[in-house]
Symmetry: C2
Subunit: 667 residues, 2 copies
């Protein structure tokens, strides 16, 4: 965001850019409309003192939590006062940039009722939820049960006498554990529990359960609730009241079971409706698409900080008494930083494509066409896994790229990492998700030649016979700039790894055992497939019409950086499958180095294109004006430890040492 | 540590072990003597309530800092009361396990005076320092200057009139920044500044400067000191007062310049003594050896937590209503966890060898033999880099391997990561260090055939002609168990990567430019060389006499896991240099899988061998007895947010929302 600044230490960098930054901003935002809204909302939030973030990492838990409650309430008020549209409100909340109970209320509680409630239930609960007359969370995971929903222990036993369910936590490990917004705020929850009627277990179902009194907020009888304690990082997710919840035979009316898919009748009969279960997968596609989109935001934010500070910071390299070398000019710095810059753009575009995919899946579901659903499900699972892992590692790498100062909370990077990294675990552990992708790939491979054509992102597998044989045609470094060459190398690698796995599995006593035994290899095959998807979507994007001087050319460069840096990183895959030769691998690396030189003069402008305010970045190192050191210095003095010159504890624990009268004499 | 426990959920695991755990404990500790001391000191600390750690991540900064002061003073008192030896005292402080000003006092201030002070200076200052009548820190880095010592801006100008130096901070970026112990505690510092006499700049020298009054602890005139603010993580390094320091023309007597290597005379003449500069490298070898040893401790601690919890935790896999599968039985879990277990052992043994190297170097220096110093310097730089990077990443990987619960501070892993990760940056940024190794490798390669024989860890390079040509002899998976085969593959890879780099550099216009241009490749060559060192030292260790049933066999397995997992991870290097074929790479992977099955029944016993107390581990997930869930539940309730059922802020920020009278009506 081009803010009015008195000084711009990065002006020199900005003048070097070889493309139209404003046009790139539109491409990054997705459209002029999206850009305008984001720009306006970001400024609204940044200019409101209630939303200050600079002291967040210094507050103790209770104070921190209270400021979060204040921000959430203030945001709700401002959104109402300004009559923001739903789209605007979403962006507004996004720029408030603080995990809070509202995320779960809007993101999980409301959608659960919308997706799993009957029309009658929706009519009853949604209006209250929309007005926040009730605040809800999503109580699924338990102390002893995370990924495996079928392992949940909480019970919901139907009592036909009273027409009620009895919700109960039979063991310690059945305590609900982790739900955000549960610990201190939610009045209601959608609770997932094992449905039991007449002694029979019908598996996991959802129930709307009131947890707290709407009068004084105290937990209802039989309900024990608390916060599960401090989490990784300063500030970060400690603004969220992830909670623990135990039920001691709590009764709810029968009509609070979410009954769209299954019902329990007045007589206690369990009925499954004919609503296809697949509909639930649609929601998963939606949620994961959001996660991929968030990955590009988090990674771009870290990259923005690291690129700007690398241009400001100078170390070594002055032989003649002149200024030291800008850190961004070191090839080792470029080699770590520019692939992450390219990844941020790559994830942005694959996220955009996933939005389209969700629309497509939704339309098909409405027309009872489930044919693309398994592929869409596998594809989003894999992309969620890949983008969140790369982003978490990438943020930490950006932190290290800022040297020692990246370790200070005032750099913004420690909190960014700590707040981001759970994305690797929630909504499906990343390794578990890759195994799902692998399972789908194995199925696809086994059906090749059966007449059943692979669809969507696996469509290339129809070319398996050629891809198993083809030779990469690269003879000199610049051949690696051809999209067809890149695509073929990634397709060949992916197909060959999948087919290898399938062949090895077939040697096992039975397929399940083979799959289990080879699961580490299968994960690698899944990664190869997902990287191909991202590369191909980036290539497709760049082939579209793109406006603005030099914009398309810059994206082309980043697309190649993304693809070639992956080839270098996974060289073993590419060469051992014979997809490329060692010589071609060396040429790819040579081409990559020359692409870095093309990125270098544009790097600062490429991160300016994210259009992030200094408020949103929240980093002394990533400031738009590059005026880093005065800001770091200023931030330091805000630390509570600087409240007094002589620290608390001096008289008890330092002075006696110095004066040598510290108990030892008493021996 | 076999504590008296009422319940042992891991008893089944322990009974599976195929080796003598007590004997392994001795191997891990290094000797019976070392084991006994560590065991005794760990128990002493663990049983002392002053050293409790369970609330550390919940305390706000000032309170946290005060408890650290208390612990440091209490440790000093206990060490004196118990008349502990220096060796015992070191272990005692180690198990207190909290970064504090004392680390810098003993680890940097005292050694700086010992190493750089004249005998007279040592006689004056050391007795006070030993008794802690003064407390010192090491003030080198500045706000604008980290790695590059020659870039420091603080000045020490000699004033011949008063026979004093004037210490001054001429710019904001010259503010001393980061020194531990500086912010709130140190009374003195060794300050590194640019020495100026008679208008001439003589480069960076060290000066002993008093910072605070010994009467009331207030900063002396002209001295501005503060803490630089919150750092990454809860608890973690926030127990340390990393500081900022500015001088406004502060005067110190001439005899407070550390004058062992250079002197300034009464007349202001600058003299360099004939003490060889190389002596300073000896200290670096010592410090880095300590860092490598710490890496094995930190990594083993994370691995211990992850292995135990992976054995306790069950997810999925129950088809028939039986218990779910132990997470440690999943191949994907083993594939991530067991190489880290092997790395912990590998780092332990290479650290042990570095201790020997330091003794060797010291003895040679005393005999004026500098021949092995450059090699020892490069080798320790590289090992510092490799072990700290792997450990930082490894701790975070262990955290992820614990699923969602690893994100809770009560798992101990977030703090372990946050407190460890600066090791990648301090004492030489890891990438800068690898470039130093690469520079040494290039020099070694250029001298091959010149008659000057490579020494120490580069001695294998004398075989370069054979290693450039040799073929790996592996024909079936079990061939990969031969140490000679493994060594040859690693040596071939390392030599070939180094020679490749040298050849590519020689194509550049000049060597400096070539080195700069290829620095990313050079880093990879340096990594290959350092991995070879670790592998070869592990192999040497295993070839020694080792007592105890099955101990040697287990170490053999871990050694192979370490080597083969590196081959798999860096397959591109090995294959593209022709050191092994793709087929041999696949066989290595196959052998690795079978090694995992051999590790599996011994995994819990292998981490028991670290002999860590529950106090030291500080993890609800890593408990010796495996009684994880009750402990997690108990820890949660300690969070300050659970002080009241209804949270602070309810009346202001939640109730008005629920009651719908939240200002909006006023519109």
């Amino acid at each position: 965001m081009a803010e009015a600044v008195a000084v711009d230490h990065l002006a020199g960098e900005r003048s070097k850019a070889q493309f139209d930054v404003d046009a790139m901003k539109i491409v990054w935002a997705g459209s002029k409309h999206a850009f305008d809204i984001a720009d306006r909302m970001a400024r609204l939030v940044a200019s409101d003192p209630v939303f200050r973030k600079d002291n967040r990492t210094m507050l103790e838990r209770k104070e921190l939590f209270k400021t979060t409650l204040r921000k959430a309430a203030h945001a709700w008020k401002r959104i109402s006062q300004l009559h923001l549209t739903e789209e605007e409100a979403m962006m507004f909340r996004f720029f408030v940039d603080e995990p809070a109970y509202v995320d779960l209320h809007w993101g999980m509680f409301v959608p659960a009722i919308r997706g799993q409630g009957t029309e009658e239930q929706q009519k009853k609960w949604l209006p209250m939820a929309y007005k926040m007359q009730i605040i809800g969370c999503y109580a699924q995971t338990e102390l002893g049960h995370g990924s495996n929903v079928q392992g949940l222990e909480t019970t919901a036993t139907f009592d036909p006498k009273s027409d009620e369910f009895i919700i109960h936590s039979p063991t310690l490990t059945s305590s609900k554990w982790w739900p955000g917004g549960l610990g201190k705020v939610s009045t209601h929850a959608v609770v997932y529990a094992r449905l039991i009627t007449d002694g029979q277990d019908h598996g996991i179902n959802g129930f709307i359960v009131q947890l707290r009194s709407l009068d004084d907020h105290s937990p209802l009888p039989g309900v024990t609730i608390g916060d599960i304690g401090t989490k990784f990082g300063n500030g970060a997710y400690n603004t969220m009241d992830n909670g623990v919840l135990r039920f001691d035979h709590v009764r709810i009316p029968r009509n609070q079971m979410l009954m769209r898919v299954s019902q329990v009748t007045r007589e206690g009969k369990f009925i499954q409706s004919d609503v296809p279960r697949q509909l639930l997968y649609g929601t998963m596609v939606f949620v994961r698409q959001t996660i991929v989109s968030d990955a590009s935001k988090a990674l771009s934010r870290a990259v923005c900080i690291a690129v700007r500070y690398s241009a400001v910071r100078r170390q070594f390299g002055s032989q003649d008494g002149g200024p030291e070398t800008q850190v961004i000019d070191y090839k080792t710095q470029q080699d770590r930083l520019f692939p992450l810059l390219a990844s941020a753009y790559a994830f942005r575009f694959v996220g955009e494509w996933l939005k389209w995919l969700y629309t497509d899946v939704t339309q098909r579901l409405q027309a009872n066409d489930f044919s693309t659903l398994p592929e869409a499900h596998a594809c989003t699972a894999g992309l969620k896994s890949l983008t969140t892992s790369t982003t978490a590692d990438g943020i930490e790498e950006c932190r290290k790229l800022c040297g020692g100062h990246g370790y200070l909370c005032s750099s913004g990077l420690p909190e960014l990492f700590a707040v981001y990294v759970p994305a690797c675990t929630y909504e499906g552990d990343n390794i578990v998700l890759l195994l799902q992708v692998a399972r789908f790939l194995m199925k696809t491979v086994s059906r090749l030649g059966s007449g059943k054509q692979p669809v969507g992102t696996t469509a290339y597998m129809v070319k398996a016979p050629e891809l198993m044989q083809c030779k990469c045609e690269v003879q000199e470094a610049k051949d690696w700039l051809k999209p067809t060459v890149i695509l073929q190398a990634f397709e060949a690698r992916s197909v060959r790894m999948a087919v290898n796995c399938a062949q090895n599995i077939s040697k096992a006593q039975n397929p399940e055992e083979g799959f289990y035994e080879l699961s580490a290899d299968l994960v690698e095959a899944a990664v190869a497939h997902c990287q191909l998807i991202i590369v191909s979507k980036f290539i497709e994007k760049v082939e579209q019409e793109i406006h603005g001087h030099g914009v398309k050319e810059m994206l082309q460069i980043l697309c190649n950086v993304y693809a070639l840096s992956l080839i270098h990183k996974h060289l073993g895959d590419f060469i051992s499958t014979g997809s490329i030769t060692p010589k071609q691998g060396a040429l790819a690396n040579e081409q990559l180095r020359s692409l870095y030189s093309q990125v270098r003069p544009n790097a600062v402008a490429m991160v300016d294109a994210f259009n992030y305010t200094d408020h949103y970045l929240g980093s002394a190192l990533g400031r738009y004006d590059g005026n880093v050191y005065p800001k770091l210095y200023e931030e330091a003095w805000k630390d509570p430890l600087n409240d007094s010159v002589v620290p608390d504890g001096y008289h008890e624990y330092i002075k006696p040492l110095l004066k040598q009268n510290f108990g030892v004499a008493r021996l």
